[in-house]
Amino acid sequence: MNVATSQSEVTGPATPVGSGSHQAKIVVEDFIAFFGAQAVLRNIHLSIYPRQRLAIIGPAGSGKTTLLRSLNRLNDLDDDFRHTGRILLDGGDIYDSSTDVAALRRRVGTVYAVPTPLPWAIYDNIAYGPRLAGVRDRRRLDELVESGLRSAFLWDEVKDRLGEAATNLSGGQQQRLCLARVLALEPEVLLLDEPCSGLDPISTAKIEDALAELKSRYCVVLVTNNTKQAARASDRTAFFLMGELVEVGLTTQVFTNPADGRTGDYITGHFG
């Protein structure tokens, strides 16, 4: 991985650029999301760049999770969900009727707030995604399971008991299992929805370490309620408030010199 490129991208355009940008991995254009009659996201414009970690912060109910779940169409599972606007992944609209949603979700993987191992063996949990994608070769599956677990910093703890039930792992291990499960699909974008909200500080540190390594290969979007985590574990930060994107920029800038007074108020704990 070329350090110079990554540097230029980190220090590149700090504010969202329009659809003209050729380097953005994901471009959200004038996106409005409704649940029933209620608009939960309003006119969102946001670019997400490869090999960067974007943190999305904001108080509860600000639309962070809705945006995250819009990026791989998980909101489609809710019958009440409607949207207008576009979300482009490598230039193609993911809401286009020709989109293969299953394939999209393999490219854009999600780790949920609550660790949700399926009630199977550790190995089968990790191999489930690749198997769905049609990988049958046992050696290839073994490789994907091992590399996923290694990237999630879990391999050393479970390598001798891959056949044991995943539900017997501790909470922190389960969440890293969920991370490994997504990584085994070799996705392009990694979405994390408050992945550490139920975890102890040591488990949280392990997840953050994993994310720091992963950013060299993936585009990471991290929704978090923990502003300190956003400051620690992201390159850019977006602040959402009541369904609006208040500001987005380099994390250092957002935290030291926010452009909008409301951002500063939230970060310093005046509300939310």
């Binding site: 791989n72 393999r106 399926l118 769905l132 039930a165 699909l185």
Partner: protein, 277 residues
């Protein structure tokens, strides 16, 4: 007069204990009575020979085969249809008028007396479709009777699978069908099995519907030939005063068979659950 809470508590516990004890005692008495009167006549000969003189002598071997054929075939037909219906109702439809109607229909079906099913089976399978009094007619009729139980219990089992499992599966790039087969059915299997075993119990002990559709022939059964089941054999032997000893022996075989089915299902489920968690 007011009783102190401690005394009330004791009275309630004693009352609940008494009712439970009565229930279990009655059950134990029935099973004990049948086994005590029947087991002495359950010999290898009884199990392996054909009945003679209307069942006054000989054994029940063709009747055991007939019971297995009718109930086995009924469950083989009803289980896939019932489970698929339950999957459709829970995973492929939104809650709406249509599913409410289907559910209501299934519930009504569950409350219909078996003799009505027998009459329908006789009119439809035996006469209209020309299947005659046969294993097939009996099995199809019993399958209709078993369907509501299987649909309802399967639905409950499927609903009990946490929503998060489905979301995880979708998130990992599964289609709906892959999600249903790999995650939902796999997790719901113990509950679905319970429902199927319950309906198997209802089928194996059915008499009225079987008499009208499978007949009561004492020969070895064939798919399109008439046969007799254990429950019906017991009814005929006792009702027509042929032989109370043979009737009790038949009942004992039936009870042991049902216990064996229940215990096997319970054992399989226990194994399945401990393997999973």
């Amino acid at each position: 007069m007011r009783l102190s809470p401690a005394i009330t508590q004791r009275l309630v516990v004693a009352f609940l204990w008494l009712l439970t004890a009565i229930t279990i005692a009655i059950l134990a008495f029935i099973i004990g009575h049948v086994l005590a009167h029947g087991l002495p006549y359950v010999t290898w000969d009884f199990l392996s020979r054909s009945p003679e003189k209307m069942g006054r002598e000989g054994g029940v071997f063709p009747i055991i085969v007939g019971t297995l054929a009718v109930t086995g075939l009924a469950v083989l037909i009803a289980a896939p249809v019932g489970v698929v219906t339950a999957v459709y109702l829970t995973e492929y439809t939104r809650k709406g008028r249509l599913t409410a109607v289907i559910r209501f229909g299934a519930d009504c079906l569950a409350g219909i007396p078996s003799i009505i099913f027998g009459l329908f089976g006789f009119a439809f399978f035996v006469i209209a479709l020309g299947l005659g009094l046969s294993v097939l007619s009996g099995a199809l009729t019993l399958a209709l009777m078993a369907l509501p139980t299987i649909i309802r219990t399967s639905e409950e089992a499927i609903r009990a699978v946490p929503w998060s499992f489905r979301e995880v599966s979708y998130g990992l790039g599964s289609t709906r069908w892959q999600m249903v087969t790999h995650v939902v059915l796999r997790s719901a299997l113990p509950g679905i099995t319970t429902g199927i075993v319950l309906s198997l119990g209802r089928c194996i002990s059915e008499t009225a519907a079987v008499m009208l559709t499978a007949g009561s022939a004492l020969r070895m059964p064939s798919l399109l030939g008439s046969c007799r089941t254990l429950a019906l054999h017991f009814y005929t032997l006792s009702r027509e005063g042929i032989s109370m000893n043979m009737a009790y022996a038949t009942a004992a075989v039936l009870i042991v068979a049902i216990l064996a089915i229940d215990l096997t299902a319970y054992w399989i489920m226990r194994r399945f659950i401990t393997k999973m968690s």
